[in-house]
Subunit: 108 residues, 2 copies
């Protein structure tokens, strides 16, 4: 079997949550996010990240601002909006529910 596939499926829905967790404390641009998620042992591809950020922006959960870079083109720094913070609180609850579900099933 390819548990790889299942594994990536498991991470699928978590991505959005993890990214919003990342942005909770500080603005980040795409490469920041990729790198910091990598440190947290979650791999994200560019082709995944950019559409996701656009989606969250479109839904009003994220905003962004352009910032100059010391080398290279300017960067789009994403920030959690207040609506995004509310959504994040709900996702916290969802995560806890999933955690409860899995632990319930594991301890049966």
């Amino acid at each position: 079997m390819n548990t790889d596939n299942t594994k990536s499926q498991m991470r699928k829905g978590m991505l959005e949550y993890c990214i919003m967790l990342l942005l909770r404390h500080q603005p980040c641009y795409a490469n920041d996010i990729i790198q910091r998620l990598h440190e947290a042992r979650m791999i994200v591809m560019e082709g995944t990240l950019y559409p996701l950020l656009s989606r969250l922006k479109r839904d009003g959960l994220l905003g962004y601002e352009w910032r100059e870079s010391t080398q290279g083109p300017p960067r789009k720094y994403y920030v959690l909006t207040s609506e995004g913070q509310q959504a994040l609180a709900q996702l916290d609850a969802s995560w806890e529910e999933i955690e409860r579900t899995v632990n319930f099933l594991k301890n049966e």
Copy 2:
């Protein structure tokens, strides 16, 4: 926003894992699974479950046997194969990794 969507996305990849957790101790047929997952606060639709079970069967992780019912047509009871148990062990590890990732990001 519809955190409902995100929430269902979060649960998406977990389904396979949860079902295999369910089957670890005892054979179940579809309605058993739906009901017991419901008790664990995870909602699954029939149209989701049947293809998923077929997929796991096709991949050799599940087997099944027909059993008579006291009322109604016979039922297909699914069982974890030994290959399925190995896969489940890997999914346990994947789950723990995700748990670590989320907690890491939450405590930053």
